[in-house]
Symmetry: C2
Subunit: 100 residues, 2 copies
């Protein structure tokens, strides 16, 4: 299993409109057919020193293998998402992992 | 759904023994009965500017709700894991999210 977890920091974190635009964009992006499972998230209420909760939106994807994730990166739906939505964020952090 | 994603940085990232100890500890920890699903991961081979791949082990948990996660935090199995394994890492970053 290939786990791709992306955290987005919005340029305007207080803008409900921008947040909705990003979430709508992710819903469209979820149609990429190599995605096995997806979860769109917002920071939980938990708040301890080790918790990073300054991001706006979390995007968690499961792929069968690295090849499926490579294919997602260049899928036209993904390229379209970047074109339509990348102006909304000013920081993205990605953690890719393979189950052991 | 409550998604709890923890990234561990080992004190001795080159030690296969320490990595195995941590992974074995997480396998024991996975027995906490409020955990719905768990994934133990290692950084994938992907390597772009936005990708954080300096961690050693990824620990991804799904809970039904925030209460189930609260209960996990204080479960004796969790407290025992922290006691047995916390000397192995020097940094932990946690991202908690709720699906939107």
């Amino acid at each position: 299993m290939f786990i791709h977890h992306v955290y987005f920091w919005l340029k305007n974190p207080g803008s409900e409109e921008d947040r909705t635009k990003l979430i709508d964009g992710l819903k469209k992006l979820s149609k990429v057919n190599t995605i096995k499972k997806f979860y769109i998230g917002a920071p939980a209420a938990t708040n301890r020193g080790v918790i990073e909760r300054s991001y706006s939106v979390s995007w968690l994807l499961f792929f069968d293998d690295p090849t499926a994730q490579d294919s997602y990166q260049t899928d036209p739906i993904h390229l379209n998402f970047v074109e339509e939505c990348s102006a909304l964020w000013n920081k993205v952090v990605v953690y890719d992992s393979i189950d052991v």
